[in-house]
């Protein structure tokens, strides 16, 4: 199915958020996630099923002021 990953269209076979992170090699990365604008904690990721058109944000530490 097609989802929107960090603002770009992404084809995925994953059906939940934890699987998606593993699919893109982020399983052990220091990242936080949001689904359709709502924060999804690490513990919740494998319980969140993905639907076509879902907007996923994956963010990491970055320089900031």
């Amino acid at each position: 199915m097609k989802i929107v990953l960090n603002g770009k269209s992404h084809e995925t076979a994953s059906t939940d958020l934890a699987s998606l992170l593993a699919e893109i090699d982020f399983a052990d990365a220091i990242v936080a996630t949001a689904l359709n604008g709502e924060f999804v904690s690490v513990d919740q990721r494998d319980g969140v099923s993905l639907q076509p058109g879902d907007r996923i944000e994956i963010v990491a530490p970055m320089q900031g002021g």
């Binding site: 603002g7 893109i24 924060f39 963010v59 990491a60 530490p61 320089q63 900031g64 002021g65």
Partner: protein, 256 residues
């Protein structure tokens, strides 16, 4: 000593980590500043670049306290979600809360700021709100649970210094028990010293250090200015007068 939500610090300079020429210069500037707290953000991570992972490794190596921000958020909802993500990633309940209301001046949206501060304080966050210098907004933020306020000196990155010293002085007088930090708009170390002389507890600087010709030397200069300004405040400066008062005694002057 400087205190933020029960934690005490020796340095009264907080440093931003953005816009440095390189990660190595950023690291050298942080060390030269002797600051104990740096600000960071959250941004989209790409699986091929993984830039955030490298940046995080550098931050851990520096060993400073981390103050994550919600920079770039234009609504309370966006800022709250960002704060929740930051709490997980950085394992801290501290959040520098930014809700931007105007793209030209990056002026805070006071309504969104107060709304987000109420939600975050109720969720146990320790909020550092980036705000303008409005006393009523400050009061609402304190009512929401903020024990730190961070009024701007001038728009972010402008280097203009303290645009409204009167408002900053008034805020200091109104909130003697709140930790006050001048955040944003400082350009040169004398601006930082001026903020400290007003009795501010700390200053937060980013662009003025990062974009200086020699960021490491400028970090050292800001550290010295912050220390000088604080010493001056504690030493109780004299009041300004309109007329001269001779410093050399007139008594005993020879009649020539």
């Amino acid at each position: 000593m400087l205190e933020f939500y029960g934690k005490r610090f020796g340095s009264r300079l907080l440093l931003g980590t953005a816009r440095y020429p390189s990660p190595a210069i950023l690291a050298d500037a942080v060390r030269a500043s002797t600051c104990e707290i740096v600000t960071v953000s959250l941004r989209r991570e790409s699986s091929d670049m993984r830039a955030g992972q490298d940046f995080w490794a550098l931050m851990k190596e520096l060993g400073t306290h981390i103050l994550p921000n919600t920079a770039g958020c234009h609504s309370a909802r966006e800022a709250v979600t960002t704060a929740r993500m930051a709490r997980e990633v950085f394992a801290t309940s501290w959040i520098k809360l930014e809700v931007i209301g105007d793209s030209d001046t990056l002026q805070p949206d006071p309504f969104g700021l107060v709304e987000a501060a109420r939600i975050l304080c109720s969720e146990g966050f320790e909020v550092f709100p980036y705000m303008n210098d409005d006393l009523v907004v400050a009061e609402k933020l304190v009512e929401a649970g903020c024990r730190v306020l961070m009024p701007w000196g001038a728009p972010i990155g402008s280097g203009r210094g303290l645009n409204n010293p009167y408002a900053l002085r008034t805020m200091r007088a109104h909130f003697p028990d709140i930790t006050l930090v001048v955040d944003a708009g400082l350009g040169v170390p004398s601006h930082a010293a001026a903020a400290m002389e007003l009795g501010y507890d700390a200053v937060l600087v980013n662009t003025a250090v990062a974009k200086a010709g020699d960021p490491v030397a400028m970090a050292r200069a800001f550290a010295a200015a912050v220390e000088a300004g604080r010493l001056a405040f504690e030493a109780d400066p004299i009041d300004a007068l309109d007329m001269a008062v001779p410093s050399t005694p007139l008594l005993g002057k020879a009649l020539l």
